[in-house]
């Protein structure tokens, strides 16, 4: 059965960042230079082709975009300036949109106006809620305890509620990803026990991002640098998320420093700040190909995280210094940024925290299934399709 070509699809992908795909003439340099491209998962050339031809189903069921960490070598080598690295990036944005069952992700990616207005609206709603509470009960002069402006127990409950919301959406979207990539996109049968056999791949890639370390950065910087910084950022983020979600009452106690809890907060803050400075600086300097094109949602991602980090640091300092009003104001600003940040997590770039390790896991399950199949038959592939 022939697949219908859809030349219109690429126009939609343009708002996700794919700009130069049509320049590609399929020399295959990009796939040749990529350390992650192999016999089974061939990219970026093949992804470029699917995108040029608008093979929607092939694109939606592909795992390849998640196997790329965007070292930028492919775009560097491209003789046609077709920017395969950026294409893989746009495909990841596209997939976040396709996995999202609510359709919100697509709206954010397609219009930065919608995204920014939503953030501002949620931020203002948060502020209104806090001020309404203050009107009835809390005092701006009290940071902690019964009459606190923003009692940590209440915020904790609010956080848990948001966390649950997040988890549900993410779970549904991850399920959708599994349906698209493993059910709809399957060309071979995958026995259930392979999911058990390959299960360790999931935590391995989640906690180590070890494939990123294999990326070739050329002579531009130390090969482990982007990986280390990215890994540090993720670990710091995860630590902070756990601290806020589980240990918030301990974190907010004071004014004295509770080292058993706060030491984790300080380390995470250092990690977050370092990562943010590294990535923001790169995006401003635009010295490597992967930082040359920054999608609006990428800017929102780093800027919002920067606001959260800075306000978090200051409210902590003010609280320790015994300045409850200043601490309360910065805390409110912090929450005004955190709430939209948490709510939009499943619909934005952030979701790659979940999708990427899942994709690694699924890709290995598929690989095992193919190996099983090949034991019984010898497959032949024309040379041109191997790159």
């Amino acid at each position: 059965m022939a697949i219908r070509v859809n030349p219109k699809l690429i126009e939609d992908l343009t708002s996700f960042g794919a700009a130069d795909v049509n320049m590609c003439y399929h020399c295959g340099d990009c796939s040749a230079v990529c350390v992650h491209s192999d016999e089974l998962y061939r990219f970026p050339r093949k992804s470029m082709r699917q995108l040029q031809m608008g093979l929607g189903e092939k694109i939606d069921t592909a795992l390849e975009p998640w196997l790329c960490y965007y070292c930028g070598q492919c775009s560097d080598q491209c003789p046609r300036e077709a920017n395969p690295g950026e294409t893989m990036m746009s495909l990841r944005r596209w997939l976040i949109n396709r996995y999202d069952i609510t359709g919100i992700a697509g709206k954010f990616f397609r219009s930065k106006k919608t995204e920014i207005l939503t953030i501002v609206a949620i931020g203002l709603l948060t502020a209104m809620a806090a001020l309404t509470y203050h009107f009835f009960r809390g005092s701006i002069h009290v940071y902690d305890g019964e009459n606190a402006f923003l009692p940590s127990l209440l915020v904790h409950l609010f956080d848990l509620f948001l966390g649950a919301f997040l988890a549900v959406i993410l779970l549904l979207n991850a399920g959708n990803m599994w349906r698209l990539t493993m059910l709809k996109g399957k060309e071979i049968s995958i026995p259930w026990w392979l999911y058990l056999k390959e299960f360790l791949v999931l935590p391995l890639h989640f906690f180590t991002q070890i494939r990123y370390a294999k990326c070739d950065t050329g002579n531009r910087e130390k090969p482990y640098m982007p990986w280390i910084v990215h890994l540090g950022l993720m670990w710091s983020y995860l630590t902070m998320l756990i601290l806020v979600m589980v240990f918030l009452p301990f974190l907010q106690s004071g004014p004295q420093i509770d080292w058993s809890v706060h030491i984790f907060g300080y380390l995470a803050t250092i990690g977050l700040a370092t990562g943010l400075v590294y990535f923001i600086r790169s995006r401003i300097r635009m010295h490597y190909v992967q930082y040359k094109k920054t999608h609006a949602t990428d800017w929102v991602f780093v800027i919002l995280l920067l606001i959260i980090t800075v306000t978090g640091i200051f409210q902590h300092i003010f609280h320790r210094l015994g300045l409850p009003v200043a601490a309360n104001v910065t805390y409110l600003l912090h929450l005004m940024a955190v709430t939209p940040w948490l709510i939009r997590m499943p619909f934005t770039k952030w979701a790659h925290l979940i999708y990427r390790p899942l994709a690694m896991y699924f890709s290995e399950v598929r690989r095992s299934a193919v190996a099983l199949e090949q034991k019984s038959e010898v497959s032949f592939r024309p040379v041109l399709q191997t790159i």
Binding site: P7, N22, Y25, M53, L384
Partner: protein, 576 residues
């Protein structure tokens, strides 16, 4: 037989000959032969000192014949003939023995190689003793030129010759000039108007009194030889009783162009059945009319261009038509400039962007978001009508090579890039002017690289797409090259005729005329009055067919007489 004084020169050719042939032994052997005054060896006989040695020997020792045993005469016969001339000896009193290509290079055993070298040298010595001094001839020629075909090649050549002051007859079958180029809208890759290219030339031809354009005309007969052709030209509108006009010309140029491949021969493209499958020339017409539309008058949302229609295929033509790739890219630009919202798919086999500016043009076409799709040669796409629920009129099924997927491409308008093929009357033209065609019907040039516009018949030149598919710049270059060749000959004013040609002894010839039809150069005429055949010296190439054929042995090949050939054979065969 009066005795002669022969000098024999044996070349070592560095080690090329000496490694297999004992040149000293050949030398002593040659000196033992009758009439040989002496024999010498030298490292490089073709070098200046080598030639000077021969010249000096001729002068000092009164040599009247020279034999050089060295390489092939194709390599250095001319060199040594010149040496003889500069010593005051007739250049035909020379013979070359090929002991390199036919001996040292092909034999490993030095003993047998030396025996063979001796035999070859002995044969040359026997032959040269019978050589006669011969003189080259010159004949007068007509400065007028006949050009067949009024396309861009014919017009360009006509102007080149006419503006140099020479009379040109430009014979055109149609009632207007311009040929196939007149059917084209814009040209690739610079998107210049084809009309501008043509009208300038037509105006200049009209105002130049040296060009006599004969419209609706055909050449029906060509007689004569280089410098003195007579061509009969008939007006095809005048009916059969219309008398042919006789033109006397010195040179003839054939630039009859091509015709496009008949797309209905490929059944799975649906040409002739699906109304919106059109050929590139039909699309050009559409462009010239100024509106791109389907048969129903709608603006196409999806357009597809299909390459290599009739070209590069097993079934039809194996060759590439050279112009279609860039023309297709031109169509992309024309489609997009007419309707920027149009989705254009370009379905190709290989993108041939070989010429100046072509690669840039391909890049520019990629920039306007063209969907390039690749199919395997001979794995032809299939075009069919779409369902009413589809948002397109047709679907093209392609086994797409770069993705490995079988895909279907939506299309409202399909443009078939039809290739070039030889005109149906090219065989007739070839017979008329006595030139050859290849298996595809294209005219064959004298040498594909070094003589691209000359033919094996002197005075007949070919240019443009009647030789092979080519684009406008190449066609114009060929037309100008042919014009330059003709101008060179006109400037000289005389035709040089080699002294080597056949002669008929009229006292022996019985007029059987067997030779007349066998001569591959049409160089033998029949004199009805004398009832015997007659060789046109200027047209004869001395191939010897007539000499071998003549049942009465009435024809003699100058410089290849029976006595000379038999002496050579005897020399070769006699025991050492």
């Amino acid at each position: 037989m009066k005795s002669c004084r022969i000098g024999v020169y044996i070349c070592s050719c560095g080690t090329n000959i000496a490694k297999a042939v004992d040149v000293e032994s050949v030398r002593t052997y040659a000196e033992e032969q009758p009439d040989v005054v002496f024999a010498r060896t030298y490292k490089y006989m073709c070098s200046n000192p080598g030639q000077e040695m021969i010249v000096q020997d001729i002068r000092e020792n009164n040599l009247d014949r020279v034999v050089v045993a060295a390489c092939s005469p194709r390599m250095h016969e001319r060199t040594f003939r010149k040496a003889l001339q500069s010593a005051g000896l007739n250049q035909y009193l020379f013979e070359m023995a090929n002991i390199r290509e036919q001996c040292s290079w092909v034999h490993e055993d030095p003993v047998t190689a030396t025996v063979k070298a001796k035999a070859l040298t002995r044969a040359a010595i026997r032959r040269v003793a019978l050589h006669e001094p011969l003189e080259n001839l010159t004949v007068d020629m007509s400065p007028r030129t006949l050009i067949i075909g009024g396309g861009i090649a014919g017009m360009t050549a006509a102007l080149e010759l006419a503006e140099a002051g020479h009379h040109v007859y430009l014979v055109e079958k149609q009632d207007h000039l311009g040929g196939n180029l007149a059917r084209v809208d814009l040209t690739a890759p610079y998107l210049d108007s084809a009309r501008d290219l043509i009208t300038d030339r037509i105006t200049r031809i009209r105002s130049n009194k040296n060009v006599e354009a004969l419209f609706n005309s055909r050449v029906t007969e060509v007689k004569g030889f280089v410098g003195n052709f007579t061509a009969a030209v008939k007006n095809i509108n005048g009916g059969s009783d219309n008398p042919a006009r006789e033109l006397s010309v010195g040179n003839i140029m054939v630039c009859t162009g091509y015709k496009e491949f008949d797309a209905s021969r490929i059944t799975h493209y649906g040409y002739g059945k699906l109304p919106d499958v059109i050929t590139s020339f039909e699309f050009e017409q559409m462009l010239k009319r100024g509106r791109i539309m389907t048969r129903e008058g709608k603006t196409p949302q999806y357009a597809a261009i299909l390459h290599c229609v009739g070209s590069r295929s097993q079934e039809f033509h194996a060759y590439c038509s050279r112009v279609c790739c860039m023309t297709a890219l031109k169509y992309v630009h024309e489609l997009k400039s007419a309707n920027p919202a149009c989705y254009v798919s370009d379905v190709y086999v290989d993108m041939h962007a070989f010429g100046k500016g072509h690669e840039d043009f391909y890049t520019r076409t990629s920039e306007v978001k063209t969907l390039f799709l690749m199919y395997e040669k001979n794995d032809h796409p299939v075009i069919r009508k779409a369902d009413p629920k589809d948002d397109c009129g047709m679907l093209i099924e392609v086994n797409e090579k770069l993705s490995g997927e079988v895909i279907e491409i939506p299309a409202d308008l399909v443009i078939l890039m039809v290739g070039m093929e030889a005109r149906e009357d090219s065989g007739e033209i070839a017979r008329l002017v006595n030139i050859s065609q290849d298996k595809e019907g294209w005219f064959i040039e004298s040498h594909p690289k070094l003589e691209p516009v000359a033919t094996t018949t002197d005075g007949i030149y070919i240019a443009g797409t009647c030789v092979a598919p080519k684009d406008i710049p190449d066609t114009v270059a060929q037309a100008r090259a042919a014009a330059a060749r003709i101008l060179g000959r006109i400037t000289k004013g005389k035709i040089d005729v080699d002294a080597v040609y056949s002669e008929v002894d009229e006292t022996i010839c019985c007029g059987c005329r067997i030779c007349n039809n066998l001569c591959p150069f049409s160089a033998i005429e029949f004199d009805a009055e004398k009832h015997c055949s007659h060789v046109i010296t200027a047209a004869c190439k001395a191939c010897g067919v007539c000499v071998a054929t003549c049942p009465a042995s009435a024809i003699k090949g100058r410089h290849f007489t029976r006595r000379q050939i038999f002496a050579q054979i005897e020399g070769l065969m006699s025991p050492a």
